[in-house]
Symmetry: C2
Subunit: 264 residues, 2 copies
């Protein structure tokens, strides 16, 4: 496993999505000045008391170049990572050597929780573009969590949120058509971008059609065809990876198509 460049860079642990008033915790040090998530730091009250410890091995910053891996399946698990910049993907290889994308990660999201179970990573993470992440020692994090109920709670919530996210993905893969899957995917992307201050209707996707297909359980050809179909339906304009949603309502209806079918 690659060594971390420990730069005493602060990190924040926050809910991946701005959920319904969920409790948040944050580890804030004197270096937190540049932490873009500093706003979440107050509740846990760690900053003052444990600053020194938190400063030590707890934080590390790491750059990952486009196409490079942050970690690979099977490598020993030691750190959780928070995305500082850039987009990444998680992928999973079956016993048969078949790889599948299991998630896309955007700024502020937490990566690595699947490693807790076995002490080694269950998936690999690859950067879709040059990216930066903050590393948090899991061992120290759980140790701190023992004295900070809020932090413990937040960690649990992160994991549970991951579980719920995957549950919804199971439903998508089990029931939905190609059009419903892609519509749902685009709407989800749109929302996540909006939550980060970007346009929700006009954006650039960082992943290939193959990545999307792998994520949605479709072939890249089907993804491409479905994009074309959406364009023909005037739901959106596609120019390579640039997307412009022109009919949000229509796209939402496509994602909920099944609702109508079910009525009969």
């Amino acid at each position: 496993m690659t060594a971390l460049e420990v730069l005493a860079q602060p990190i924040t642990v926050m809910p991946a999505r701005s959920g319904a008033g969920a409790a948040v915790a944050c580890v804030s040090t004197s270096h937190c000045t540049h932490c873009h998530l500093r706003q979440w730091c107050a509740p846990s009250g760690i900053a003052s008391t444990d600053g020194d410890r938190a400063d030590s091995l707890m934080f590390g910053r790491r750059r990952v170049r486009a196409g490079q891996r942050l970690y690979r399946e099977g490598e020993p698990f030691k750190y959780l990572y928070e995305v500082r910049s850039g987009n990444l993907k998680s992928s999973l290889t079956t016993a048969q050597g078949l790889a599948r994308v299991s998630a896309f990660h955007m700024t502020g999201e937490l990566i690595g929780l699947d490693g807790v179970a076995e002490g080694q990573h269950a998936s690999s993470v690859t950067a879709l573009e040059d990216a930066e992440v903050c590393a948090v020692s899991y061992a120290l994090l759980t140790e701190l969590a023992l004295s900070h109920a809020q932090l413990q709670q937040t960690l649990m919530q992160h994991m549970s949120r991951e579980i719920v996210r995957e549950l919804r993905m199971l439903v998508l893969l089990g029931n939905m058509t190609a059009e419903e899957r892609l519509a749902t995917f685009l709407l989800s992307l749109s929302q996540r971008l909006a939550a980060r201050g970007y346009s929700s209707s006009d954006f650039h996707m960082r992943m290939t059609r193959a990545d999307i297909g792998s994520y949605l359980g479709l072939t890249l050809e089907t993804v491409s065809r479905t994009f074309s179909a959406f364009q023909k339906l005037r739901l959106l304009e596609v120019d390579q990876r640039h997307i412009r949603i022109t009919d949000l309502g229509g796209l939402t209806r496509v994602g909920d198509q099944r609702a109508h079918k079910e009525l009969h």
Copy 2:
């Protein structure tokens, strides 16, 4: 939400599967005599010191009759449950009212971790037959975890294990054919039964074809047809819900079929 019959019944928190030497924790009280998982209780050392508190609201036993629900989606989340006897299923309803089975639960498994994220259950749990579960107050559990690192660790591992389990399910739903899915499902069932001391080659399934189909992302007709196909291939004998695996190797190969395809 239905009230719990608090019977001061002890409960054990253990890894769902006998993983590779993973740390285990257990809350053991003086009532632990009848706890079938008592063997796991030593490591956490909670028994002696916090016995009284653990005895209070922490444990409750609850019976769930066949077809009845333990809890429903959206209900406030307060307890984790450990299956004492009987089999149950988790299901998830989409915005469109479409229900899907997301898991089957056997003795010793922990239910409810998806509720941590939002403070309300993300799925519903239904008993496939008369069942008994032990309830653990999540609030008290996390409070205890603050003073017992081992317990905290175990909780995290449970959640992570759930994440990994679902990841593998995503791969199955995204890539595998009906035959591969059913073979994988049967092999998984077989292993879980074996781990509980039952025959791994001769067992009774508690779920309907519709349940299996919903879980595997197939229609009940396809499931039925695939069972028939397996029987014709002499991989197993099917009599309603009774299964006799006659060619374990063959069934395993079917589950790994894709391995051969990928070589060309």
